[in-house]
Amino acid sequence: MRLRPLQAGGGIRHDWEEIMKVEQISVFLENKAGRLAEVTKVLGEAKINIRALSLADTTDFGILRLIVDQYDKAREVLKQHGFTVGKTEVVAIEVPDRPGGLAWVLQILSESDINVEYMYAFVQHSGKNAVIIFRFDNLEKAIELLQKQGVRIYTGEEVYRL
């Protein structure tokens, strides 16, 4: 699917920044057999589609981070099944799918002292480009900066339908 890029450059309005935030669900998992399967089963039964995911883990526990097509419903069914769930706002950024593509984006960020807490790639490509989910320490500043530099950012709505 071809996405219509959002207008970048001058005159950034704050509501745009709101639109560009993507809601991510995080789920606390103990490191024991079957927990990840249980989450995906619960979501599957509720007809919720997982768009992107990453799993961070330690020896004791893991944190599953998910982008889904129906955020509110996913949160509700997971809570009903007794999972501890959290909400985080992240940004979906288009990165050229070529050597140095990611480096270019990270360079822009590091020059402005914006920390990447974590990042993970989207399952699907958008045309020739990769879509990567970023969690920043300063979300608003990152969005503003990336837009000024002409980096394409997807709105939440676009991401859930991607």
């Binding site: 995080s26 606390f28 330690t58 004791d60 526990f61 007794g82």
Partner: protein
């Protein structure tokens, strides 16, 4: 509110005169009627007449749980069975239960003390009491039941278990008072939340919670979640049952011991010497008026302290501190004495952690290991690994700091620690296996 104005506000001198008179009579009765106590007196070279002042109390022999087991089932009763109208027993998970009996007058005394307890919590006629202590051999359910009736309030004898039905009754019958263990009150809240029932909409006003040690922080959590005043009550079947002491609504600071019926002491559990007011030690109780099953200097194994300072509620009765743990529950980890309640206090202090935890003690080689499993709720959860690791480290640090022992903290999913409908199983000690 004070139920028995006369006896709950006696000047110290008058109270001690009553205590001495009753103690003397008790010694005479025990010596004459219970062979076990006659032997104990003889071994100590004591005659009942040797007790001339309350200062002579430390000369009297102790009674222990083992003595109760050795005289199973009725060996320590001081009246013939014709006068016993009720028998209760402890759960007896380790060996034989301990059995206690009551005369008609004992039941009346107990009922009055529960009525005093309820009044201290502001309960009166017209109140409806949801009594969720277990009915049966356990003293909690029936002890409260008779006292609630004695006061003239309405009792719902719901007992333990069947939590969902209890939520329905809380909604439909509109009780204003709940009596249950502190952990069960939080269990009720969790289940109500699952059912979409809002505790704030219930008519409950006050809870009288006991039968297991709990902390000040847990009181705050119960009060916040259930929207009630939560008061601590103390009692044990060997002495009577619930109603030995209770907090007053006015101060919520220490439990008033009904000293016209019970004579408390605090002793050092190692040297067995009496300790002065304000010092933490083992609580020892002598029953002054019990007929069927009196005990002399019963070692409760509960760790507490006594505060003789006057209270703003007007009662002149001494206040015992919240139970800090049981000497039986005390874990010795690498030579350090640890009470589960101390770990609970640490967890509650680290904001955002619910008090659902389990302590697992093990031995690896010659080394004791302490693991604390803590459930992660939404308030404590973060999508960043280092935040959660920071939480673990903070709890570990505070345990080391306050208790002087290293622990491994492990975060676990909500509800992965088994909930009990009665007493919570907080400790798994694998060293005993």
């Amino acid at each position: 509110m004070i139920f028995n104005e006369e006896f709950e506000t006696l000047p110290r001198e008058a109270l001690e005169a009553i205590q001495l008179r009753r103690l003397k009579a008790l010694c005479e009765r025990l010596y004459a009627l219970v062979p076990f106590y006659r032997r104990k007196f003889d071994e100590a070279g004591l005659k009942p007449g040797d007790i001339r002042s309350l200062k002579d109390l430390p000369r009297l022999p102790f009674t222990t749980k083992q003595d109760l087991r050795d005289n199973y089932p009725f060996g320590l009763f001081a009246v013939p069975m014709e006068q016993v109208v009720r028998i209760h027993a402890s759960s007896g998970t380790t060996g034989k239960p301990t059995v206690v009996g009551y005369t008609q007058r004992d039941i009346k005394t107990w009922s009055e003390l529960i009525a005093r307890t309820l009044a201290a919590a502001g309960v009166q006629r017209g109140d409806i009491v949801h009594n969720a202590y277990g009915y049966g051999l356990f003293t909690g359910g029936l002890g409260f039941h008779y006292g609630i009736e004695y006061l003239g309030a309405s009792v719902i004898p719901v007992s333990g278990g069947n939590t969902r039905r209890q939520i329905m009754l809380l909604q439909d019958f509109g009780p204003t008072v709940i009596t249950c263990t502190p952990s069960f009150s939080l269990h009720l809240y969790d289940v109500a939340k699952d059912m979409g029932v809002d505790f704030a909409k219930l008519r409950l006003r006050v809870g009288i919670c006991g039968a297991e040690p709990w902390s000040e922080a847990m009181r705050q959590e119960i009060e916040r979640k259930l929207g009630i005043d939560a008061l601590d009550i103390y009692g044990l079947s060997e002495v009577m049952g619930p109603g030995v002491s209770v907090e007053c609504l006015e101060a919520k600071n220490g439990l008033h011991m009904f000293e016209d019926h019970f004579l408390p002491e605090i002793i050092d559990p190692d040297t067995l010497e009496p300790l002065p007011p304000g010092q933490l030690g083992e609580l020892v109780i002598t029953t002054l008026t019990k007929e069927a099953f009196p005990v002399l200097r019963y070692r409760t194994r509960d760790i507490s302290m006594l505060n003789p300072e006057p209270c703003k509620c007007g009662r002149t009765l001494v206040r015992m501190g919240r139970i800090q743990g049981r000497s039986d529950d005390m874990l010795i980890i690498r030579g350090v004495n640890v009470f589960p309640s101390q770990i609970e206090a640490v967890l509650m202090e680290v904001q955002g952690v619910e008090p659902h935890y389990q302590i697992v003690v093990d031995r690896v080689g010659q080394m004791d290991t302490l693991e604390v499993r803590v459930e992660v709720d939404e308030a404590a959860f973060s999508d960043e690994v280092r935040q959660l690791q920071h939480l673990e480290k903070k709890i570990e640090h505070n345990i080391k700091d306050y208790l002087g022992v290293s622990a491994k903290v492990r975060l676990v999913e909500p509800r992965s620690i088994p909930r009990s409908e009665g007493k919570a199983q907080r400790v798994i000690d694998n060293r005993k296996k």
